[in-house]
């Protein structure tokens, strides 16, 4: 088998992290890794380097504007977009993980390896149109995440969260698989395009629709749309903060992109099936926004709040699918970029403030903003962006989606969306209130004085970078949209034409 340079180019970004993922466990065999920082640094360095190289390759391909491929791996613009997306998220998670694992006092090389595996799975998941490969990508991204959720395994909640994620995730994968099989069986192909054409030509058999439902459910589970969302808060709470951030961002992102490939990309929107998908997504998006936002209100734990918030954001993202115009999908991609920054910053903030273990309640954040003002301001920017207040990027994400929603006549959904985001403002402001408007309790002050100063240079840096991206999304959105998101769509799945 001869591999052309194009094939290599498509393969390299996946290959490098895979190799690193295989090597890291070997390094972690070193017994001294608990005590010798250099070993840890070497492992982190290796992982970071691998991701960095991968990122570099992606940007290289992006710069040339080629659509490279290897077998079923389609590194088109959309794939490159998701690759950049995943590598950035993974790198940020890695940087935060360094701090977090030091705060938690537990460090294992396997974690890094699994993170890389998962990242590879994500890249694959989002850059193939073959359902079989998609399934494999799904499994490759999910299985390490189950374990990553349970990383801090001396905490029983951690294991519990992993277990819950595993069971629900396995059911969802099985459904995805069953859907794939049904579609394969009834259309005779595993390629999404072929399936789409077959549906168009032969019409939608009920069994094909069942297959489509099961497939859709697999995506929606990863996007954590209601009612497939219930694993989300538990898994996020269980996992280390950077992993939770990574899960919320990267998993959701690639699931959205994969869904984009599957539905508007293959089945098409104006077919009868496509319209059904739109209707279904409208219902679920509404439910997701409502339940996600409402459930976030009474939370006392910041991580759970952020989990519900990520659910509600899934609702906004799905609204873009409901609108279904090319502009709306561009908006969705833009939203994803901002969402990456927002959630990595939100979870990174917890790491950067040095909150560990059970101490992720709102009370634990009290007065921290004044203690570390720069970080506090970044956190505020993040929260306001999550709430969709201009001039933060989060507003424009919502703006692009709602605009198309209104344009396509879904005014009711748009009203629901803005109302939901009004509710969300309340709980995001609670973070702001805790950071800046409240004084720490006396016991907290005492505890803080006993503990050594928190070292979190890396995670702070990531949070600041994220805040910068958020602000850039607020002021230079045309750069992001036209230069990045729209290109990914236009030259990606051709739905812009």
């Amino acid at each position: 088998m001869n591999l052309t340079s194009q094939n290599w180019a498509a393969l390299m970004p996946l290959l490098v992290p895979s190799v690193a993922a295989c090597l890291i466990p070997i390094a972690s065999l070193d017994k001294d890794q608990d005590t010798v920082k250099s070993v840890r640094a070497a492992m982190f360095g290796m992982a970071l380097l691998a991701l960095g190289v991968s990122f570099f390759y992606f940007t290289r391909i992006w710069a040339t504007g080629q659509n490279v491929f290897f077998s079923n791996l389609k590194m088109d613009r959309l794939g490159q977009f998701s690759g950049i997306f995943v590598t950035v998220a993974a790198m940020m998670a890695l940087l935060q993980l360094w701090d977090h694992l030091h705060h938690e006092g537990w460090m294992k090389g396997e974690t890094l390896s699994l993170l890389l595996f998962s990242a590879v799975g994500m890249m694959l998941f989002a850059s193939t149109t073959n359902l079989l490969m998609m399934f494999l990508g799904l499994e490759l991204l999910s299985l390490p995440l189950y374990v990553l959720t349970a990383t801090v395994r001396f905490r029983e909640e951690s294991i519990e969260g992993g277990m819950k994620y595993f069971i629900t995730g396995a059911v969802a994968s099985s459904c995805f698989l069953m859907g794939t099989v049904l579609l394969y069986g009834l259309t005779g192909t595993l390629e999404l395009d072929g399936i789409g054409t077959a549906i168009l030509t032969t019409g939608a058999d009920p069994l094909i629709l069942v297959g489509a439902v099961l497939l859709l459910m697999g995506f929606l589970f990863k996007i954590s749309a209601v009612p497939f969302h219930q694993w989300t808060p538990d898994a996020y709470e269980a996992s280390p903060h950077p992993i939770a951030g990574f899960m919320s961002v990267a998993t959701k992102g690639v699931a959205v992109i994969a869904l984009m490939r599957a539905f508007p990309g293959a089945i098409g929107l104006h077919t009868a099936t496509g319209q059904r998908v739109g209707m279904a997504l409208a219902v679920l998006a509404a439910a997701t926004m409502i339940i996600g936002n409402l459930s976030a209100l009474p939370q006392t734990n910041v991580k759970r709040m952020l989990a519900y918030s990520s659910i509600s954001h899934a609702g906004y993202l799905l609204l873009g699918f409901v609108a279904g115009t090319p502009e709306a999908y561009t908006g969705v991609l833009f939203y994803l970029v901002i969402y990456l920054a927002m959630n990595m910053a939100a979870f990174g903030m917890l790491t950067a403030f040095g909150l560990v273990g059970e101490h992720t309640q709102f009370e634990d954040l009290r007065g921290l903003g004044w203690k570390r003002p720069v970080l506090g301001v970044a956190a505020v920017i993040t929260m306001l962006s999550l709430a969709g207040i201009p001039p933060m990027g989060g507003f424009f994400g919502k703006y692009f989606i709602f605009k198309e929603l209104v344009k396509t006549g879904h005014v009711g959904l748009a009203v629901l969306g803005v109302t939901a985001s009004l509710v969300s403002v309340y709980y995001y402001l609670r973070v702001v209130v805790a950071l800046f408007l409240e004084q720490p309790s006396e016991s907290q002050v005492r505890e803080a004085s006993e503990k050594p100063e928190i070292q979190s240079f890396l995670s702070t840096t990531t949070v600041l970078i994220c805040a910068a991206i958020i602000l850039a999304g607020g002021f230079f959105q045309n750069l992001l949209v036209d230069g990045f998101a729209a290109k990914a769509l236009k030259e990606g799945i051709e739905i812009l034409r």
């Binding site: 819950k164 069942v210 439902v213 009612p227 497939f228 279904a280 459930s295």
Partner: protein, 635 residues
């Protein structure tokens, strides 16, 4: 050269600014010079302008200095109008003000807030002159509200006491209630005429027919009259004036007797051509005036505070003026303003002199026998008393009689009311004089120290006394062979804009008889009061004991203050509280704002409950989700 008329109001303003900003540092002497000097200068300018006006064609000067407001269809210039009406009023205001400023120099000499006092007083003159001279209703309104403000400030001059600020507040709020009416009236006139310049309004009014029934014009004039009742202390807004006596006595003399309180009458005269188009309003004015005259006079019968007596007397006299106006006797009403200014200012200054001598004792029942100690005061006050009683030869007689005569022409009932009020007036004035100056001293200590006031205070008394005697001869009624010159003089102003001047009132029939009756009644009651109180209070107490009910009612001023407090103020406050605590806090904020918030919270608690923590339930909900999707896809 007439353009310098702007100096007339501005000079006192300069004085006020000087006294207010640097008066305290400059010392009392400088304050006195500036305070009095600017008003005197203003008076002299006014005289000059007055004569210029007399020479002007049509006895009228219209001076425009610029534009105040101009937008859309509304243009309000800064302009002064000097015609016989405003010219006379301007002279009265500046003249009497000058005298009272002079008087104040002596009266207030010991006061801490000397500069502040003169600041306010000068400011008052400025606003009063703006009111008088302003050529448009908004400008008139500036003075209208401004004098109210100065009245508030001067009544509350002793701000560190409990009562004075309260009285000031009361005065201001009653005034403002009237101002509200005034403002509405202005708006109505603006809507009607499309302008607020008095000259233009009167020009247009001249071409209109008298209104039949209750129309827009009647509404406008009634509202303006509401304004007049506030400023000129008529039913139902007169309650503030007696309380206003908490201010220094010169203030009472100037503001609450001679000038400000007559501005209501002045305003109606100013707009006489408009008012004469609305018979309903005119009748209302007459009746309100007559009833006020009676009501206040009866209350005045039993007051113990020397200034309160004079205050009710003022209210009563103002009622007379309105009675006159309402009976279509604009000239007569204004004539009474003119004469009243002299003798009432004199009465107040005299009372001030008494109070000054008695070390701020105001209770008549603690005075007595002051005739020897204060001869100038006594004699000048006696002249004023005779004036107000309406004894022939003194100014009050001429003006009051004209009003009573016109009232009779309007309705005999009004005349009867006026006559009763006149009798009461004669009685309480005689009572006042007798109690204060005759009999034995009832407070020997104060009596010992009593002494005649300094020059600055007695001089104005004398000047005013002369004025009070002479003023009446300006308007000798036709029935006595006079020409009622005042009417002729004011005619250009009162009939301004009318195509043809109305024929002057014709005197005939029972005029002499009516005059005789009223003079006799007044003299009779005066003598009755004199004799009753000449030798102390015993006789009167016996008389009061015979009519305990009436006495209590009168002593408590018909309980009107209590009624206002109980049925107006307290319910308003209660209503405000209800609005705040019930409507604002509970209904809008609670139900409208916090309830949705709380409901959202509860809904959030509920949806969070769905998260049971059991993985089986999670799978179940996923299954339900699939069912929903299947339903949507296969339906």
């Amino acid at each position: 050269m007439q353009k310098i008329a702007w100096l007339i109001p501005i000079l006192p303003l300069i004085g006020s600014a000087f006294n207010g900003l640097i008066g305290k540092k400059a010392g009392k002497k400088a304050v006195s010079i500036v305070g009095v000097g600017t008003v005197v200068a203003s008076f002299l300018t006014a005289l000059w302008v007055f004569f210029a006006m007399k020479d002007a064609p049509g006895h009228r000067l219209d001076l425009i200095y610029g534009t105040w407001m101009a937008t859309g269809s509304l243009t309000v210039p800064f302009g002064l109008t000097i015609d016989p009406l405003s010219g006379t009023m301007m002279l009265v205001v500046t003249g009497i003000s000058a005298l009272i400023h002079l008087y104040s120099v002596g009266y207030m000499a010991e006061e801490e807030g000397y500069a502040r006092y003169f600041c306010y007083l000068n400011l008052f003159v400025f606003f009063m002159l703006t009111l008088v001279l302003g050529n448009s209703l908004p400008l008139l309104f500036v003075g209208w509200e401004g004098v109210g403000l100065c009245s508030y400030l001067l009544i509350g001059y002793a701000f560190e006491t409990e009562t004075a600020p309260a009285a000031g507040l009361k005065a201001f709020l009653f005034n403002r209630t009237g101002d509200m009416g005034m403002a509405i009236g202005m708006m109505a006139l603006f809507a009607l005429f499309g302008t607020l310049t008095i000259g233009d309004i009167l020009n247009q009014a001249g071409h209109m027919q008298a209104e039949v029934g209750f129309g827009v014009l009647t509404f406008a004039t009634l509202m303006l009259f509401v304004g007049a009742t506030g400023k000129s202390a008529q039913i139902p807004l007169y309650l503030w004036l007696p309380d206003a006596m908490a201010g220094p006595t010169p203030v009472s003399a100037l503001i609450h007797a001679a000038t400000m309180v007559t501005s209501g009458i002045y305003m109606i005269c100013r707009l006489a051509p408009v008012f004469s188009l609305t018979p309903i309003t005119m009748t209302t004015i007459a009746w309100v005036g007559g009833l006020t005259a009676l009501l206040a006079a009866t209350i005045g019968l039993v007051q113990r505070d020397i200034k309160k007596v004079l205050a009710y007397s003022t209210v009563s006299q103002l009622g007379y003026m309105f009675l006159g106006l309402g009976s279509a006797g604009f000239a007569a009403g204004f004539f009474h303003v003119f004469t009243h200014a002299w003798f009432k200012a004199l009465l107040f200054l005299g009372a001030g002199s008494v109070i000054h001598a008695m070390h701020h004792e105001q209770d008549l029942f603690r005075m007595g026998g002051l005739k020897e100690k204060l001869p100038i005061t006594f004699w000048t006050m006696l002249i004023a008393t005779l004036c107000i009683m309406g004894i022939p030869g003194f100014s009050g007689f001429f003006s009051k009689d004209e009003i009573l005569y016109l009232a009779f022409l309007k309705s005999p009932a009004l005349w009867a009311i006026g006559l009763v009020a006149a009798c009461c007036t004669a009685f309480y004035m005689a009572r006042l004089m007798a109690l204060a100056f005759l009999g034995e001293p009832r407070d020997s200590h104060a009596y010992e120290h009593a002494h005649e006031a300094p020059m600055t205070m007695t001089l104005p008394l004398v000047v005013l006394a002369v004025g009070a005697v002479v003023a009446g001869f300006w308007g000798i009624p036709k029935v006595l062979g006079g020409t009622f010159a005042v009417e002729h003089w004011l005619e250009p102003a009162l009939t301004y804009g009318h195509a043809e001047a109305e024929a002057g009132s014709v005197h005939e029939g029972p005029a002499m008889m009516l005059m005789g009756i009223s003079v006799a009644a007044a003299a009779g009651f005066g003598l009755f009061g004199w004799s009753l109180y000449k030798n102390g209070t015993e006789k009167s107490e016996r008389l009061a004991a015979k009519f305990p009910g009436a006495h209590t009612i009168l002593l408590n001023k018909y309980f009107l203050d209590e009624l206002v407090e109980g049925y107006l103020l307290r319910p308003t406050r209660w209503f405000g509280n209800v609005l705040w605590k019930l409507f604002d806090v509970i209904i809008i904020d609670g139900i409208g704002v916090n309830l949705p918030g709380a409901l959202t919270r509860v809904a959030g608690d509920f949806t969070a409950l769905l998260q049971t923590g059991r993985v089986r339930n999670y799978v179940l909900s996923m299954g339900l989700g699939v069912l929903v999707l299947l339903y949507i896809f296969l339906k």
